[in-house]
């Protein structure tokens, strides 16, 4: 079963692979450009799915299929085929359909919306069959390549959730790809919940006079203060992040409604649920004045999970990074990895290259380190193929 002798440290394969993979440079970079220039807001990933589907077809993958959640999957059958490995990348981007998705290519850098999160991950997924072919690697296990939909925000990992609930093959080990940051080693997930506090005025006229009540915006600000108070009691194991506040559109007109979005994160099992309950009580009991109402909606939940820093897969990934001269940094995840770990599937999330300005219009990725990222992915994949990370 261990035909590939994937000993990252002793055979130095990642270093050799890194050099060989430069031959696929233009193909990979073109995939980044093309995946980068296709808008794919959460819930509207269809065009990007089509792109990935075409690439899978060109590579001759088996069982290429679009599931009910809009995920696109293809399989590279293994030589033995008793086990199944999964490599996934989320397709959705935080940008809207109408944002300019033009990618610019400069000397050593590419820039454009969503390149780091997660066009590069998608491009590597599209190129992975060619990468394995170039390196003459035939895996024993079946390899499922999966582009998942609805990862962000209200999407709440719906794509990966659907796949795991309905996968025809049990998954033995999994790897999630993120564009940045090379060296990222995620093998644990935080407990997490996301919520929205909505404040709205009734149908009557709002009081705009100088002695009117605090209004929607001020009430939302009051909720932020209350959330901070709850967080102070839970620190340092748990955090409450306020992500956005939305109310009104002018200077002098009182808004009729507003929304405060927050995320609870905790390393401790059960804490997220307890804090969520506390917030619900806080919202229900806060007095907010006549004609206004407040409500809480919880929209996403993750359970904390941890593969453990001494797990062979984590150990191997760290060794590979060391061999490539890259400093590893542990970064607990709240994305697809959480669902995989929750199901007891040995899994990692790895970053592919270095980048900057994540989630800004000038998001950029460095080109040269991508080959380190690819060598790292191949090494981890070969290790998984040996059946060690069980």
């Amino acid at each position: 079963m261990c035909k590939h002798t994937a000993k990252a440290r002793s055979d130095g394969a990642p270093l050799t692979h890194r050099e060989k993979l430069r031959r696929l440079r233009e193909i990979l970079f073109a995939n980044v450009v093309m995946a980068g220039e296709i808008p794919a807001p959460t819930g509207a990933e269809r065009r990007l799915t089509r792109f990935l589907s075409d690439r899978f077809t060109e590579c001759g993958l088996a069982n290429i299929s679009l599931d009910h959640a809009g995920n696109i999957a293809g399989m590279l059958p293994g030589r033995v085929g008793r086990r199944t490995l999964l490599v996934s990348a989320h397709l959705d981007k935080i940008w809207s359909e109408t944002d300019d998705h033009t990618v610019s290519v400069g000397a050593g850098m590419m820039s454009g919306r969503g390149l780091a999160d997660n066009s590069l991950g998608v491009a590597v997924l599209a190129t992975l069959p060619l990468i394995l072919e170039e390196l003459e690697i035939d895996l024993d296990a079946n390899l499922v390549l999966l582009g998942t939909t609805r990862s962000f925000g209200r999407g709440d990992l719906a794509g990966m959730r659907f796949f795991l609930e309905n996968a025809s093959h049990p998954i033995d080990a999994a790897l999630c790809l993120e564009g940045i940051e090379l060296g990222r080693l995620s093998y644990s997930s935080l407990g997490m919940a996301r919520g929205e506090i909505h404040v709205a005025a009734g149908s009557g006229e709002l009081d705009h006079s100088e002695d009117a009540g605090p209004g929607v915006a001020a009430i939302l600000a009051g909720f932020i203060v209350a959330l901070r108070r709850i967080e102070e009691c839970e620190s340092p194991t748990s955090r409450i992040l306020v992500g956005s506040i939305e109310a009104g559109s002018g200077y002098s007109v009182a808004p009729r409604s507003g929304t405060l979005r927050f995320e609870i994160r905790s390393r401790e099992a059960g804490h997220v649920a307890r804090i969520g309950k506390e917030i619900a009580e806080m919202v229900a009991t806060t007095s907010i004045g006549d004609g206004l109402s407040a409500s809480l909606e919880m929209i996403a939940h993750r359970s904390p999970g941890d593969l453990g820093s001494d797990h062979p897969l984590v150990h191997h990934a760290r060794e590979t990074l060391e061999l490539l001269g890259i400093e590893s940094h542990v970064a607990p995840s709240v994305s697809e990895l959480a669902l995989l770990l929750d199901r007891g599937i040995p899994s990692l999330t790895l970053g592919i290259t270095k980048g900057e300005n994540r989630h800004s219009p000038s998001e950029a990725i460095s080109l040269e380190p991508i080959f380190d990222g690819l060598a790292q992915i191949v090494s981890v994949l070969r290790f998984m193929d040996e059946g060690k990370p069980s």
């Binding site: 233009e26 610019s104 290519v105 400069g106």
Partner: protein
């Protein structure tokens, strides 16, 4: 419907394509191989570091590595002061300075000069020209232009056109018929060469042409190169030598109106010359080569003049160096 209208309609029916008709790249590559053709892609540049890298990556990946349609990708540069050539070379393009090709014939400013020298430098039986400033580059910008030449031996010259408007930001615009096309070239063609009005975007910088045609055409070195080509080939071979392919949309930097004036002036020079050469007008006075524009500063108006002289390079086939290099 007049006979002319019928001819144009028939031509639109048979010689106007949509890029999606050429989706089957394997088939296209097979047909190219069977026809024994070689194809060169030429990208003329001057300070295009922002877009050149992406163009090279996309063309090399899709039309050389994945589907071996192109035999060479070359950048012919007019002397960029930015990193255009360095970036193009780093992604695998062959890069040339226009001034270093046929140096014995000197070096002249203008895009037409690069296009002309490319005929000598490049090896392909078909040369596909693609401008370097395209922001939404896709492999179809080359493959869908060479395809009609591969499948239809009687077609000599294929132009791109773009007909679907996009929602774009202020400094970008979709290319329908461009402004110079609609207010200058189309009216002129309507008067003198009405069949050529069937070409929806005659000034498009993307076109693919057989070597035998390119080597036989004189080349204005500036703005008039595309219009002059169309007229010359039309006069020698008629409308059926042309085809056009719809590439959906093209996004590029918008040109200021003052630059469009210079462009129109250069095109008119080439156009007038051809009217005279083909005996279509009895007599023309000596034409001024000075283009005059005005700028206002408060209540003062100042003349801004620029000499625009549409010099022409002779047909490449007349050069002994060319005939020797290409065995003609």
């Amino acid at each position: 419907m007049s006979e002319l209208d019928q001819r144009i309609s028939r031509w639109l029916e048979t010689n106007t394509f949509h890029h999606s008709e050429f989706w089957d790249m394997q088939e296209l590559v097979r047909a190219k191989r069977d026809a024994g053709l070689t194809i060169s892609l030429c990208i003329p540049t001057l300070n295009e570091e922002k877009t050149i890298g992406k163009e090279i990556i996309v063309f090399k990946s899709e039309l050389m590595d994945r589907y071996p349609l192109l035999d060479e990708i070359a950048v012919i540069d007019s002397g960029s002061s930015d990193r255009t050539l360095e970036i193009a070379a780093s992604f695998g393009a062959d890069t040339y300075l226009s001034s270093e090709i046929l140096p014995q014939y000197g070096s002249k400013p203008g895009k037409g000069e690069n296009l002309w020298k490319a005929i000598h430098q490049l090896r392909g039986d078909i040369i596909c020209y693609v401008d370097a400033d395209i922001k939404n580059i896709h492999s179809k910008f080359a493959s869908a232009l060479v395809a009609p030449l591969i499948y239809r031996p009687e077609i000599q010259y294929v132009k791109a056109f773009y007909d679907r408007p996009l929602a774009v930001s202020d400094d970008l615009r979709p290319s329908g018929g461009g402004r110079v096309t609609e207010i200058l070239v189309r009216p002129l063609f309507s008067m003198f060469f009405p069949e050529l009005t069937a070409l929806i975007q005659p000034l498009s910088g993307e076109y693919a042409v057989r070597r035998e045609v390119l080597e036989s055409l004189p080349f204005p070195i500036g703005y008039g190169v595309e219009t002059s080509h169309l007229i010359d080939l039309y006069k020698s071979s008629g409308l059926d030598a042309f085809a056009q392919t719809d590439l959906d949309n093209r996004i590029h930097r918008n040109q200021p109106t003052s630059d469009l004036g210079k462009m129109a002036f250069g095109i008119l020079q080439g156009f007038m010359k051809r009217l005279r050469d083909y005996g279509m007008v009895k007599e023309l006075p000596d034409l001024h080569g000075l283009f005059r524009q005005f700028q206002a500063e408060g209540h003062r108006y100042e003349q801004v003049t620029r000499e625009i002289f549409e010099e022409e390079r002779p047909p490449m086939i007349t050069l002994p160096e060319y005939r020797e290099r290409h065995g003609r």
